[in-house]
């Protein structure tokens, strides 16, 4: 019974008609991969934000009585720096698409500096706040949310520095090949948007 339905042979057309036999250049889907991965990242933050809002909703007083006031000046400046860095990094993308590697390096270096300032500012804030991780529920969510976001900024910074490092090689990035640049940029925008939501939730709506 098996032999009647079995095709004893396999696909084996002559090589000249078989275009694409042998090793096959895989088309590049990495940007789509980055975007799909960021959906998962967004869901982690969404989950944590929802948890925060629920804690806030079910507590009789929010923030719990005795929570010291949050200073707004430093985080405000930090927010402006991070948001502007999104515009700065976009220039790098424009530059690389014109084959301008020097421009790419310049804009990435500025973005990296702005990211670093943001992180230092956040650490400074941590050391000068009047509440600690375990003070109360607001304090815990504050540190975990901003800390988790800070780790993402740090990771974005590493990506940017990695691109800078690679861009030293001539022709590594060009108008046709610039996955690293785009991926770092998309990631950076993502981290930015998350911060805007965080800032509104933790500092403004508190």
């Amino acid at each position: 019974m098996q032999s009647s339905i079995d095709s004893t042979s396999v696909v084996n057309y002559p090589a000249e008609v078989a275009h694409g036999s042998g090793h096959h250049a895989h088309p590049d889907h990495r940007i789509l991969g980055v975007i799909v991965f960021l959906i998962a990242e967004a869901m982690i933050f969404l989950g944590l934000f929802t948890a925060y809002l629920t804690f806030r909703a079910v507590s009789p007083v929010w923030p719990p009585a005795g929570t010291p006031e949050l200073e707004l000046l430093l985080p405000g400046v930090n927010t402006i720096i991070l948001i502007s860095s999104s515009f700065v990094i976009h220039n790098a993308d424009v530059a690389v698409k014109k084959n301008d590697v020097k421009g790419l390096q310049l804009w990435f270096a500025i973005t990296a500096a702005m990211g670093a300032i943001f992180l230092v500012g956040q650490l400074y804030e941590y050391f000068h706040l009047e509440f600690g991780l375990k003070t109360n529920l607001f304090a815990s969510t504050f540190y975990v949310l901003t800390g988790f976001h800070g780790l993402h900024v740090l990771f974005g910074l590493v990506l940017i520095l990695g691109v800078l490092w690679r861009s030293r090689q001539p022709n590594h990035y060009s108008e046709t090949s610039h996955f690293g640049v785009e991926a770092a940029e998309i990631y950076w925008h993502f981290v930015d948007v998350v911060w805007i939501v965080l800032f509104i939730l933790l500092y403004l709506l508190k």
Partner: protein, 559 residues
């Protein structure tokens, strides 16, 4: 179809020489980026964990053979059922259903040479063994004992080291699953062969697309919950600890936002396998292709808005319980659409009752029982009665064992010739099926009655009035344990001594049957082009194509 197929020639298999085939096995323990190797790595690894999880279950059932807590300490008992569930979910069904079959089949089914991101794929697989070994190591430190749900505040006070290990392990396995999901989505969307639109995709790909979307949306929320839980556990914050002003209910919501969809992550790919297997062995076109394809997405979407049906007794307000009860019951509609489509597919077909088909039909009947008890527990008053009883244990095992595991076995039997290049022994396969079906029902059917009469789950001792049915159930568990022996023997024997498999032993129309068994590196000698929809069995066109051999041809080959 009057296309002339060029003269056929036998291709030398990818692994020809004997010295080469001696080294062949090494690629399965290497950081291979070949999706077929990775798929088999997933399958073997997860099956080993299945045996471990099964061993733990056997210990649990042995403890429950008598009403007294006499075999192991109650503390160890808690660890046994907690790790049993965690292993079965995160190390067996999820990696086997998505990782093993997803990786092995998707590129073959859509005519691609590999996954979109082969390296990422290998990374995702190699997170599984460390995650699993880590989890098993928790037995040396006092295993986590608060159930696989790890509800605080219990999980914060009971065996804290074991609990921390559990959290880390689940985070690793969850990350692996997310990376896999990214790969499946991009591969299915972007790498299909020319001529294959979304509506010509084999149904397994639809199911994997729907399951991957669920993985992507829900797993991160579990990660968020576990991050907060680990802060409570290790640092002493009180997100979920009421004594510090926290709210344990928030954990339950976040946990079930993942863990209800997790049921669909474990069953949707298996639905996909069944949709592939039934038409091939019924020699009939699938009934209701679009209905089956789109209902996967309906299930995914609804699956995201039913989670609180696990929390009817957690002080959930009545209006919210209504909302979740109605949503849950609605899921029976897309699921029913699938079941009826499968029945219509085999109805009047020329059934080939081999092991794959038997397990597929076993899947339908057992899963329907689990589905019906699912509708029962969806209704609030009934659920309040059976909450945390053996009725729930019975229900979930009919879904996850009678459903997922039966389906996975069907998949293994169906694709074994493709994966190994050898035919599997049908007599042993049938013995395996009969033992599994009998053992499964003896083990889990009595639990419905035990639950209705009020026997609590997750407790080592119980009222002596439940003794008789528990003995029956334990005997069933032993039969199940024995049932794996013919299977393991069959696989090991057939890999080395089985009859050589032809490229298309079942007369399948999907792409994987149009290449050698096992397929060569990069799968196809030429880029395949879709000429006929995947399920046109029994039509004149299909008969001609199957007789002629491969239906893959490039446009150039026609001219």
């Amino acid at each position: 179809m009057t296309q002339t197929v060029p003269e056929q020639a036998i291709v030398t298999p990818a692994h020809g020489g004997s010295t080469e085939s001696k080294r062949e096995w090494r690629k399965y323990i290497s950081f291979s980026t070949d999706h077929k190797v990775i798929g088999i790595q997933y399958l073997v690894t997860s099956f080993i964990f299945y045996l471990i999880g099964g061993f733990l279950a056997t210990l649990v059932r042995t403890e429950l053979a008598t009403p007294a807590s006499d075999l192991v300490s109650p503390d160890l008992y808690n660890g046994l059922f907690t790790v049993h569930a965690t292993v079965m979910i995160f190390l067996w069904i999820v990696p086997a259903a998505t990782g093993a079959f997803g990786n092995y089949l998707i590129p073959l089914l859509i005519g691609a040479r590999d996954m979109a991101f082969p390296k990422l794929n290998a990374v995702a697989f190699w997170m599984i063994p460390p995650g699993g070994i880590l989890l098993m190591s928790s037995f040396f430190f006092g295993a986590p004992g608060s159930g696989w749900t790890s509800y605080p505040p219990l999980s914060l006070v009971d065996n804290q080291v074991g609990e921390a290990i559990w959290i880390l392990s689940v985070l690793i396995l969850g990350t692996s699953s997310i990376l896999g999901g990214v790969n499946f989505i991009v591969t299915i969307l972007k790498m299909r062969a020319p001529g294959m639109g979304l509506n010509q995709m084999p149904l397994f790909c639809w199911a994997m697309l729907a399951a991957s979307c669920l993985i992507l949306v829900s797993t991160p929320v579990l990660a968020g919950a576990l991050i907060l839980l680990s802060f409570d556990l290790i640092v002493g914050t009180s997100f979920f600890n009421p004594t510090g002003g926290g709210d344990p209910i928030v954990y339950q919501h976040m946990f079930w936002f993942y863990s209800h969809p997790a049921v669909y992550i474990m069953i949707l790919p298996v639905f996909g396998l069944i949709s592939e297997i039934l038409p091939v062995h019924s020699r009939k076109p699938i009934f209701g292709y679009k209905a089956i394809a789109y209902s996967s997405f309906a299930i995914s979407f609804l699956g995201l808005i039913v989670w609180a049906h696990h929390m009817f007794t957690s002080g959930t307000p009545p209006w919210l319980r209504m909302f979740f009860m109605i949503n849950t019951m609605i899921i029976a509609v897309p699921t029913g659409i699938k079941v009826f489509s499968w029945l219509a597919t085999i109805w009047g077909g020329k059934l080939r009752l081999n092991s794959a088909m038997l397990f597929a039909m076993g899947f339908i009947s057992m899963f329907v029982i689990g589905g019906i008890s699912g509708v029962m527990v969806a209704s609030v008053p009934f659920d309040i009665h059976v909450h945390d009883t053996y009725f729930i244990v019975a229900h979930l095992h009919y879904v996850l064992f009678g459903g997922s595991v039966f389906g996975l076995y069907a998949g293994i039997y169906h694709w074994f010739p493709k994966m190994s290049g050898r035919m599997i022994n049908e007599k042993l396969g049938k013995a395996h099926f009969i033992l599994t079906l009998i053992g499964f029902n003896i083990c889990f059917l009595p639990m419905h009655k035990l639950g209705l009469e009020g026997m609590n789950r997750r407790i080592a001792d119980y009222d002596p009035k439940f003794a008789v049915l528990n003995v029956v159930s334990t005997i069933g568990a032993y039969i199940l344990a024995v049932s794996t022996f013919p299977f393991i023997f069959n696989v090991l024997y057939s890999i080395f001594k089985g009859e050589k498999a032809p490229s298309n032993p079942w007369g399948g129309l999907t792409f994987e049957w149009q290449t050698t068994s096992p397929p060569p590196h990069e799968n196809f000698a030429v880029d395949p082009v879709l000429l006929i929809a995947p399920y046109e069995y029994g039509t004149e066109e299909a008969k001609e194509i199957i007789k002629a051999g491969p239906f893959l041809a490039t446009a150039a080959a026609e001219g």
